[in-house]
Amino acid sequence: MTAIFLVSIVALLGLSFSYAQFGETMYIGNPAAGAGNTVSTGDIDPSIFMWFGMGGRYTKIEPLFAYYDPPVQSISFSVDNAYPGYGSSTATQPHKMLCVAFVKNFGSVPVKVKSIDWDVPDYVQVYYWGGDIPEDVLNDTIQAINESEGIPQARKNEMISILVEQRNGMHVGHIILPGMVDPLIFNWHFKEDAEIPEEANFTGTCTVICTQFNA
């Protein structure tokens, strides 16, 4: 009887081994162990941080210069005492007009300029220099910045260095890398042959839409 009992114990042990299952778990990210997989996203943040507006002998642009800290998404400027023919030149008096909005990508992901849309009256012709800045426009702008009064010299140097180093104006499809500056250079020309109301006001807008670079 004793012998039969011992043999049965061994048989049961054998059975239990055959029905057990070994298991192993491997983890790809194990939050319980303080090692979770994480995905952190960056951001796009193109903002205007500096403005330069050059007016003519009779027509003034305000502000002449502005530095925005913190940077902004929207700015406004005024053109006072405009007339037909104003803006026909970017450099020569008395009609010269040139504006530069310095846009910097403060985000961590490159942005692409998706669109640049202007909303101005029919009697205003918009020019903007996207891509390579023509040599004469570049020189005129640098000269205008240097001759402008009331702008701190450090800011003048900053604007000029941006223009000289990049030699590139904002245009659709341009990629602005994180930390890089892209100047939007434009001119409003009040047409000579158009009916321009006297002593009138209008608000023109420029809307620049930027997206992530791979959109």
Partner: protein
Amino acid sequence: MAAIFGVLIIGLAVMGASYAMWTETLSVSGTVGTGELDAEFTQALSSDNEVEYDVGENMCVLSDSDSDGDYDVATITLMNGYPSFECYTNLTIHNCGSIPLHIADVVINAPEELNVTIDDPSPVCTILEPCETVWLNLTTHVNDLAEENATYEFSATVEIEQFNA
């Protein structure tokens, strides 16, 4: 009288001896040494889909969570991600046990902002002999639902069973 009683006692003792049974004990003992089911990650490679602009970063680090000498945890980290950023993680699963193993499943748990998928060929249902390895390739895709400056977590578990389970 006392003598008769003593003789009876002795007689009964002799009879008792003649009715005793002999016994013998037989025993069977077995020693069973079981094998080990064990798996580890041995390689972790990371790459991404960036070509022109190298903006996002990714890495994969292996660790030993139970101090048994095997890397049983792979931790993937993506930084500065953005919609359409993809990270490719290539892991090798190595059978470091003594019996064949069966990769029963890979269970992924990810938020809706991420698409985490197993690339073909999937190692699920693969049986690995001891010392054999197989690749587990994961793609982590940041989709359009991702917010800026956000952090998302995901995890995946590789369920390993003995080969004959």
